[in-house]
Symmetry: C2
Subunit: 206 residues, 2 copies
């Protein structure tokens, strides 16, 4: 997404610009409204019409920019996961200590309610709707796991990256969604101290 | 559940036996119907009336045995999780190799569609409904994590048991729900070989 304001190709000759609401930032407004709608109502109940209404634009404009609900969801997931996807800085120049850095970065995202809430909404949608699961799988694979795997010097780097990711996903679900104690109340650094070395082994040990 | 046919205490003087359908096995029939309903429709859409209809009994009888939808769900979760809860044999006499045994046992449950389907349904319900999450948390804590933790000789045994459980939960979600490749297609023993030693460390290393 080098230019987030670039419209998608037009579809089936619809006249999306007729309402005159396609000013600068309309796409961003739609996307912000979509994230709120998906978070509040879930994938199933969110609608193109509801997203358009919340964004203050005509529904045709939402179709113009995104085409389908699945595509709006994909764009929202890209935004919601962008904090989790900034892996270049974490991978850094060396894999020394990468396990701890990843665990710390991941927990920081989940500790912040502003980034946690949409992540939980995305995961809930993905676990209950195949279309949402497909989108999440695509984004996570392409933006996160492939890039991490490319830096590794272990056998089956992608498999290793997925094992590390699976551990972090499980910690997030047990700690932030199921709220199992004492994991839910443990200080983040306490979790980093134990999980970091596990991730390190998956990502670096032959 | 020493006697699964034992009725719960009667509530508010309802006449649950009037329909003459309280024969032997009625409670088991209700529970089987409830598991099907929760799997097929999810926690939200499953109803006491629908469960009664599927079991071929009067709705009053479902209320008589279980009282609330949450209680029916709890009983269904106990059944669905019973394969996962048979930890005594896995813990065995010694903690040598317990990590591998746990990983292997856990994957075997998930590899079997008959046990996987209701587990996925329970986890989906728990991730989308607080009442279901509370039930799952209670069952998993009381039946699984506390019993595993009681066998451990590490600092913070419950925390360690939860870290191990979080890894397995994450593997299940990435492999069986999101179906991320290559994890989704990896032979179970290949996963056991890498995840087993991680669980072993959490459960036994000081």
């Amino acid at each position: 997404m080098t230019d987030p304001a670039a419209p998608a190709p037009r579809r089936r000759g619809r006249p999306p610009r007729s309402a005159g609401d396609d000013g600068p930032g309309a796409r961003d407004r739609i996307l912000a409204a979509a994230r709120t709608e998906f978070s509040a109502r879930g994938y199933d109940k969110a609608s193109m019409r509801g997203i358009a209404k919340a964004a203050g634009v005509d529904a045709a404009l939402v179709h113009h920019y995104f085409g389908t609900k699945e595509a709006v969801f994909a764009a929202a997931v890209e935004v919601d996961f962008s904090p989790a996807l900034t892996v270049d800085a974490i991978l850094g120049d060396s894999l020394d200590g990468v396990g701890e850095r990843l665990a710390r970065h991941f927990l920081a995202i989940w500790e912040n309610p502003a980034t946690r809430t949409p992540l939980i909404a995305v995961i809930r949608s993905a676990l209950t709707h195949d279309a949402a699961a497909k989108v999440l799988r695509g984004v996570v694979l392409r933006r996160l796991l492939e890039r991490v795997a490319a830096e590794l010097a272990v056998p089956e780097p992608r498999f290793r990256a997925e094992l590390a990711a699976s551990h972090m996903v499980g910690v997030a679900i047990m700690r932030y969604v199921l709220e199992v104690e004492p994991l839910a109340s443990a200080p983040p650094e306490h979790i980093v101290a134990l999980v970091g070395p596990t991730l390190q082994r998956y990502l670096t040990e032959p």
